[in-house]
Every structure is written in structure tokens, then in C-alpha cells.
């Protein structure tokens, strides 16, 4: 009696099965988009694009700005020392060698410091690019999952910050080395050694030919 004419929920079950299938298809498509999106981001921020040449250019730019200042100061300090040594009649003495050594030492240490700073700044640039990449990932996941969109947008401004490199003038990188000033303040580093060499080479008494650094 009721077999043919009874109410059937077949259509409802079919509909819900269809819904389940659509959900599965949608999820598969979502996962495919995620994989594709991640590959695209990996490629854009990979070594082929943001490789060493990109960062080296930045590092070199910073060195091109700072090293000439150092070279200039070194040249000036050297010329001053040469003039002072010549005035003191010590140009061809052990003291001259000592002064030259001090200048060379300061030059090397200062240059190493500037190169280290350029390297650190380049590292910051790498971090900044990495933060951009992370943002791109976050946006990918936010696009595919609306519930994370709000959090992603709120934090985006805080990322991707590049530390400002040191672009101020370097200031005096070389300690002045006073030559021929007997009244200069004694007990400065290296003075005793310089004086010893000065005496050995010239046979002079300390006084007019003192070297202080």
C-alpha cells in the first residue's frame, strides 16, 4: 500500500551525498591551489631571483660608500705622518716604521669593521626579503582560509622591516699620532716601543724626536 506512494527521502540523501562530493572536490581544488601557490612563492623568492648577486649589489653599494671615506682618511693620516716624520728628520727610521705599522693596523681594523657592518646590513636585507616571503605565504593561506585573513592583515605592517644601514659620515677613524712633540702626553700606547726604536736607530736622547700615538 505505501511502497509506491510513501514519502521518500532518497532525494535528500542524494542531495547530501552530492554536497559531500562537492566538499571533497572543493577541498581537493583548495589543496591544489595551496601547493601551486607555495611553489610560485618559492620560485619568486628563490635563489634564481633573490640570490647572492642581489644581496652582493647592496653590500657593495654600502662598501662603495664607506670604504672611500676610510681610504681618504687613511691617505690624509699617512700624509700627515709623513710630513711630521720628515719635519722631525725621522722619515727613514724605526719610528717611521712604527707609525706606518700603527696606521696600517688601524686601517685594517677599521676596514674589517666596515665590511662586517656591510655584511650585517646585508643579512638584514635577507631577513627583510624573507619576511616578505613569509607574508606572501601568510596571504596565500589567508586567501584559502578566510578565518586567518584578519590576523594576517593585522601583522603585515610589522614585518618586512629593513634595519637602516649606517649611512652617516664615518667620523675620525684614525687616532692622531703626534710626532716630534716632546711635551705630548706620555704613556700612550706604543710610545715606549717607539722611543726604544728611535734611540736605537738615531742614537738620540728622548726629547725632540719623541713619538707618541
Amino acid at each position: 500500500m505505501g511502497g509506491k506512494s510513501g514519502p521518500s527521502n532518497n532525494q535528500m540523501v542524494q542531495f547530501e551525498m552530492q554536497q559531500a562530493q562537492e566538499a571533497r572536490d572543493k577541498e581537493n581544488a583548495r589543496q591544489a591551489r595551496l601547493n601551486q601557490g607555495k611553489s610560485a612563492i618559492d620560485s619568486i623568492f628563490g635563489n634564481d631571483n633573490f640570490g647572492d648577486p642581489f644581496y652582493n649589489k647592496y653590500q657593495q653599494a654600502e662598501l662603495d660608500y664607506t670604504l672611500p671615506q676610510l681610504q681618504k682618511q687613511y691617505g690624509e693620516a699617512k700624509r700627515t705622518a709623513e710630513a711630521d716624520l720628515a719635519r722631525a728628520g725621522l722619515l727613514r727610521s724605526g719610528a717611521a716604521g712604527f707609525v706606518q705599522g700603527k696606521l696600517t693596523d688601524q686601517q685594517a681594523v677599521n676596514e674589517a669593521g666596515l665590511r662586517a657592518k656591510a655584511d650585517t646590513d646585508t643579512s638584514d636585507l635577507r631577513k627583510s626579503i624573507a619576511a616578505q616571503q613569509q607574508q606572501a605565504y601568510n596571504q596565500l593561506y589567508a586567501t584559502e582560509d578566510p578565518t586567518v585573513a584578519a590576523n594576517t592583515a593585522a601583522t603585515s605592517a610589522a614585518n618586512a622591516q629593513l634595519q637602516t644601514p649606517n649611512v652617516a659620515a664615518l667620523g675620525d677613524m684614525f687616532k692622531p699620532i703626534a710626532i716630534g712633540l716632546g711635551s705630548a702626553i706620555p704613556a700612550v700606547t706604543g710610545q715606549a716601543e717607539a722611543q726604544r726604536q728611535l734611540n736605537a736607530r738615531t742614537g738620540r736622547e728622548s726629547g725632540s724626536g719623541t713619538v707618541t700615538s
Binding site: 500500500m1 514519502p7 521518500s8 596571504q139 585573513a149 634595519q163
Partner: protein, 228 residues
């Protein structure tokens, strides 16, 4: 053989059963119709939701892909170089630029007073030094412009990237918020249940049919007992 009461009871019972069956068929038909309406409603809601969600997702995707394209190495490098050029012009004093180019007036302006009256050889040598110094200064300023163009300058890479990411982030956020909203609305629609039809008076008709059958059965029983 059969008394009229039994026959009436039997007829009444059959009639009520038929009535009851008709009522059930009517109820089944109404329930089927209600189910069909529910499926149609749910299908419509689902299609609307999926379409709207996909549209919003595409909006977010467009923002995201646009940002990604702008953050590619080629565009970032081009932007950095462009910013570097802008900074070179902006940072280099006009006087230094003119001296580096060999502008005699600019170079003469940098000479100490009295040097203008010196020998030509001396003036040429001094002017050469001034020009060379200006060239070197300009070179270093260019390097400074390069450094700045990666970071904190107005249109430097960091600011540019942040602007791009923030713009895309807001597009994604808006789409995400709207998608959450329509998902909530859709969940409410999904919770709507189909109408459940109940048979009004079906029980009473069944009881009457049963009573009629009882009367008919009793009458038939008595008739049968009398005939034995």
C-alpha cells in the same frame, strides 16, 4: 445468515480503512512535496553560497597574486634602481654635480680667493683637483643612494614591499571577513529542516474502523453460533 448490524459494521470498518489509507497517501504526498521543496531550497542556498564564496576568494586571490607579481625580483630590482636614480639627483648638491661635469663657473666658485689670479698651470691643477673631488663625492653619493634605495628612503624597497603587502592584505582581509559572514548565513540556512507532515485524525479513523470490525465480528460470531 448475517445480521444487518454485522454487515453495517463490516462496511463501516472497510470504509474507515479506505479513508485512513487515503489520508496516509495524502500525507505521504505532502511530505514528499515538503522534502522536494527542502532539497530545492538547500540546493539553491548551496549554489548561491558556493558562487559567492568563489567570487570573494577570487577577489582575495587577485589581490594576493597582484602583490606577488610586484614583489618579484625583476620588479623589485627595477623599483630599487629607479629609487636609486631619484635619490642620486635628490642627494647630490647642484654645485657638486656641476663641478663634476666640469662647469667652469662652479669650479671657479670653489677656488680660494686670490687663486684666480695665479698662473694658468696652477689654476688648471687646482681646478682639476676640485673636479676630481666632485666626481669622487658624486660617486660616493651614488653609492649612498643605492644603499638607501633598498631600505628606508621614501620609495625604497622596504616601504614599497610593505605598501604592496598591506594593500593585498586588506583585500584579502575584506574578502575573508565577507566569506566568514556568508558562511555563517549559509550554516543557518543548512540548519533549516524539511516540513514534517502529520496525519490529522488518522488515529481516530483507525479506531472507528477497529470498532466497526469489532461489531461486525461479534455479529458474525453470533450468527455462526446460532447456525451450529
Amino acid at each position: 445468515m448475517c445480521d444487518p448490524i454485522s454487515i453495517i459494521g463490516l462496511g463501516f470498518s472497510i470504509g474507515m480503512s479506505l479513508y485512513n489509507m487515503q489520508q496516509q497517501q495524502d500525507m505521504a504526498s505532502k511530505q514528499q512535496s515538503a522534502n522536494d521543496q527542502w532539497v530545492a531550497y538547500q540546493r539553491r542556498q548551496s549554489q548561491n553560497y558556493l558562487q559567492r564564496d568563489e567570487d570573494l576568494r577570487r577577489n582575495a586571490e587577485a589581490g594576493r597574486e597582484g602583490a606577488l607579481e610586484e614583489l618579484g625580483a625583476k620588479k623589485q630590482t627595477a623599483a630599487q634602481e629607479s629609487e636609486s636614480e631619484r635619490l642620486k639627483t635628490s642627494l647630490t648638491p647642484e654645485e657638486v654635480a656641476a663641478q663634476a661635469e666640469g662647469d667652469p663657473n662652479a669650479i671657479a666658485g670653489a677656488m680660494f680667493s686670490g687663486q684666480q689670479h695665479g698662473s694658468e698651470e696652477m689654476k688648471t691643477a687646482i681646478q682639476g683637483h676640485i673636479q676630481q673631488a666632485a666626481i669622487e663625492a658624486r660617486k660616493r653619493i651614488a653609492a649612498l643612494a643605492d644603499v638607501q634605495s633598498y631600505g628606508g628612503s621614501q620609495y625604497g624597497l622596504t616601504n614599497r614591499a610593505n605598501t604592496i603587502l598591506n594593500t593585498a592584505g586588506q583585500d584579502i582581509r575584506l574578502a575573508g571577513n565577507e566569506r566568514s559572514g556568508i558562511l555563517s548565513a549559509y550554516n543557518v540556512a543548512k540548519a533549516v529542516e524539511p516540513i514534517k507532515i502529520t496525519q490529522y485524525g488518522g488515529g481516530a479513523a483507525g479506531g472507528l474502523a477497529q470498532a466497526g470490525a469489532g461489531v461486525a465480528g461479534q455479529g458474525l460470531g453470533n450468527a455462526l453460533a446460532a447456525s451450529i
